[in-house]
Symmetry: C2
Subunit: 320 residues, 2 copies
């Protein structure tokens, strides 16, 4: 009754981040800059700047922009395999960022240093085993991301529905579910599985405030249930929206191409070309399987309000 939101007094994710809601807007290359992160934060979620596609100076500008637009908690996502990671961390710390989402590398490498700097550290995992290693490395929470997620993906193809309960059973720290979450029904499902928060990427990519090119946003809205596929499995598995570039990759894989051939075909700059510059043919369009159920381009506030209304409705009709 009264204000209408769910009772989150025992939810460790809102406590950890100091947010109103246990929703995390995922850090995404070329899509989640300072504007999206600040808008998500103002809507009640944790806003994350995706540093994977940013040089330190640009990252600094995005953090400053976000901080000028919100006083709410903000985080930065750092794929640990990129060059210049230590410069990125330095820029974040100097700019007052104290929440880090790390991915694509060992949680052992930077967690101690970040914890020593009084930061909150969350690492992204795709298996229960790695989640346990993250906990042992001292992270505060893990994101457990399933096969349906957009962009880079785990090798074992474990789906969110199967992954989350096993991660929850493997660790004591709170678990954030990611992959396949675009509406409040899916958020409620993730919380049934034992997750205490949800990280949402693709749905935030198709908001007004996302930096994705309009062509890309429109392509997401036009997607059907079968419009994405996980490819590049011999190199770095990645889930893409099907387009001309995807067709090329797919044909190479069908005839048993090697990782080297695939990487040569990929070349450089494909993700930027597609997602930021709007080349829908030759660009690499990283998006989750939920693209098929995204039908509009709302503001972050409209999206978050709708997610919570859908969540409440889903929970209210559950047989109890």
């Amino acid at each position: 009754m009264s204000t209408g939101g769910p009772d989150l007094s025992n939810n460790r994710i809102v406590k950890l981040f100091g947010t109103r809601l246990p929703i995390i807007q995922a850090g995404m290359v070329w899509v989640s800059g300072g504007k999206l992160a600040a808008s998500a934060a103002n809507a009640g979620a944790l806003g994350i700047i995706g540093a994977g596609s940013m040089k330190p100076e640009l990252l600094k500008q995005h953090i400053e922009k976000a901080k000028s637009l919100t006083k709410k908690p903000l985080a930065v996502n750092l794929p640990l395999l990129y060059h210049g990671i230590e410069d990125q961390i330095r820029v974040c710390l100097d700019s007052g960022i104290r929440i880090f989402f790390t991915s694509a590398g060992s949680p052992k490498k930077y967690t101690p240093m970040l914890k020593a700097n009084n930061c909150i550290v969350v690492h992204v995992t795709s298996t229960p085993e790695l989640a346990k290693k993250c906990e042992d490395a001292g992270v505060d929470a893990v994101v457990a991301e399933g096969f349906e997620a957009g962009g880079h993906n785990g090798r074992d193809e474990i789906t969110t529905l199967v992954l989350i309960p096993q991660v929850v059973d493997a660790v004591k720290i709170p678990v954030i579910a990611a992959g396949g979450i675009a509406d409040g029904r899916q958020m409620a499902a993730a919380l049934c599985l034992g997750a205490e928060g949800v990280q949402i990427g693709s749905r935030f990519a198709a908001t007004i405030e996302s930096s994705a090119h309009d062509n890309f946003k429109k392509a997401i809205v036009a997607a059907t249930p079968a419009s994405t596929m996980l490819v590049m499995k011999k190199s770095v598995p990645v889930r893409l929206l099907k387009n001309k570039f995807y067709d090329g990759v797919s044909k190479l894989e069908e005839r048993g191409a090697t990782a080297e051939e695939l990487e040569q075909f990929l070349g450089k700059g494909r993700a930027k070309a597609g997602m930021l510059d709007g080349d829908m043919d030759e660009g690499e369009l990283e998006i989750g399987q939920v693209a098929g159920m995204i039908k509009d381009i709302p503001t972050c506030k409209q999206l978050v309000d709708r997610l919570m209304a859908e969540y409440q409705h889903a929970v209210s009709r559950l047989p109890n």
Copy 2:
């Protein structure tokens, strides 16, 4: 309070089948004979005899056995692509079966005849589009089965978490979620997504009453989260437990083998050899991704009671 079970007075699946619970024990080749179906039925679920691996005479024996062991509702699963399907249907009708789960073929072909014989018809789908076609063909409900499911699988690799809400939005008939459901948390998640029932396969394969060979049951219990993979994508996609046979398929696929080469390597009788006769090296072991979280071999009654207790616990701790 009182009896403890959830209020299912508005649940269309228990009404449709006349069962106590909205749980369906999946029909599975070599695994779900009359004994398993009757035991699942006595535990409160809908028990299904998997006819895919049975000649009409054997199917008749399994139906008679099941009927001697329970007075509860029973169903038969018919993969429509197998030979002798019309003889199987005749045997079922003659033996008093009135609930049919059909799969692997067009729902248009046999639904009118079965409905004319006063039967309940449910068809298995892996996309929202096919679910709509099933509804148009006159089926009473659909099973929507995700990528994580064991055995034969859809080509679009849509996971249960992403598939169910889209199927629920596409049809008015009730939806049964399948793929990735082995405990009560996953059952609660499926109901959050809008499903009104769950079909559970792998978890029932590893029960006392399943016909799976003991070697296969033990291999399921020993499985880890990464122990299954979807293969044979150029032929008929199937999710298998990794073993020597899987390694062979995997190597062929890696070098770009054709569908013909794959089918030749598969040969005949692999599923029986593995699942019924217990050849863990050369057999084809069809199982879902949830194998990684199956840790014991309970009776059907113990399993169903536990599922419902876990369901209630998952629902009770959801923020509301």
